[in-house]
């Protein structure tokens, strides 16, 4: 059964079926919230608030953009509001190391790592990205969301999302370069 079936049931009064929708989307909603808040406690609170808000506003859901997009937009806005209240300062990366290392060397270096090391490296790289860029990475690379959907979720224009994706790629390579340089120096 698709989401719309359960949405109609919940609107008709069978609120217990909202649990099905939560189960389906909780992991990615939690991941998006974690991308922005950087704290598991805050992410859980924001994710819960997002589902609660979605439940309360379910009758206003128009299905123009799909339940998933609508829900993620709520979660994104809730998380951004939370972060702004806490005034979290994000670190931006510089691009000074861009293009210094050939692409093949990235792949060789990454291929030479075990799974845990790869996870650690990408974790460190993503940690240094601004929160909205981390959300874009998750939606684009993990969920394979099209640019149009990312634009609807984040409220950024499609061209802005494309520009950000380009910058994110450069930044990720820059940070990988930085990590590999440090690793080679330490050997």
């Amino acid at each position: 059964m698709d989401d719309n079936h359960y949405i109609n049931q919940v609107i008709a009064g069978n609120s217990a079926l909202f649990a099905v929708l939560i189960d389906r989307h909780k992991d990615l909603v939690f991941t998006l919230c974690l991308n922005i808040t950087r704290s598991r406690e805050d992410a859980e609170e924001v994710a819960q608030d997002s589902f609660l808000k979605a439940f309360q506003k379910l009758s206003t859901f128009r299905n123009d953009s799909g339940f998933r997009t609508w829900l993620y937009r709520i979660a994104y806005n809730e998380a951004i509001t939370k972060v702004r209240k806490k005034k979290v300062v994000t670190t931006s990366l510089d691009d000074r190391f861009i293009d210094e290392l050939p692409d093949e060397e990235y792949e060789e270096s990454i291929a030479g790592m075990d799974e845990a090391e790869q996870k650690e490296v990408i974790g460190r790289v993503l940690e240094k990205l601004p929160e909205t860029d981390r959300v874009i990475v998750t939606l684009y690379y993990l969920e394979s969301c099209p640019v149009r959907e990312i634009s609807e979720i984040t409220g950024l224009g499609e061209s802005n999302v494309k520009v950000r994706l380009h910058r994110i790629r450069k930044r990720i390579y820059s940070e990988l370069q930085h990590i590999f340089k440090i690793k080679s120096l330490s050997l």
Binding site: T31, A47, F51, Q56, Q118, V121, I122, T138, R169
Partner: protein, 140 residues
């Protein structure tokens, strides 16, 4: 540099290696508990969209009836002679005396109409205050 698609594959593989974060245990239960809690039930709208529409249509209908339907009472109330007389009295007798004599001639029906209008304004004020307190959670 390599083509964008190949760069994307490298990043995609790394991001997928990291994977999605799992929501904490009992996450669904906690949300459902909050949904079923009495405090959330209190957030339900005080008046539904249909009721609000009915009130608006009712008030509009009342105004249309007063202004257009041929009822002798209203004809008398809003007749040009009467209005002209009141206007002239303002200059001769003073504003407050004119208004006092005007209101003295009101029948009980007029007072009901005025009372209903003031009541609607009051209800509107109270509802707006209640709605703003619930931080826009209402379903309109």
């Amino acid at each position: 540099m390599k083509p964008q698609a190949e760069n994307d594959d490298l990043i995609r593989n790394l991001v997928r290696r990291k994977g999605i974060e799992k929501a904490p245990d009992h996450f669904t239960d906690k949300v459902m508990e909050r949904i079923n809690s009495p405090s959330l039930a209190d957030d339900s709208p005080l008046i539904s969209r249909g009721t609000l529409l009915a009130i608006i249509v009712g008030v509009a209908a009342m105004i249309v009836v007063i202004l257009t339907v041929d009822i002798p009472y209203f004809d008398n109330l809003f007749s040009s002679d009467r209005i002209q007389k009141i206007s002239m009295n303002i200059f001769t007798d003073g504003f407050f005396r004119t208004m006092a004599s005007f209101f003295r001639e009101f029948s009980s029906i007029t007072w009901v109409v005025i009372g209903a209008a003031l009541g609607l304004v009051l209800i509107d004020r109270i509802l707006r205050k209640r709605f703003s307190e619930t931080k826009g959670m209402m379903i309109w």
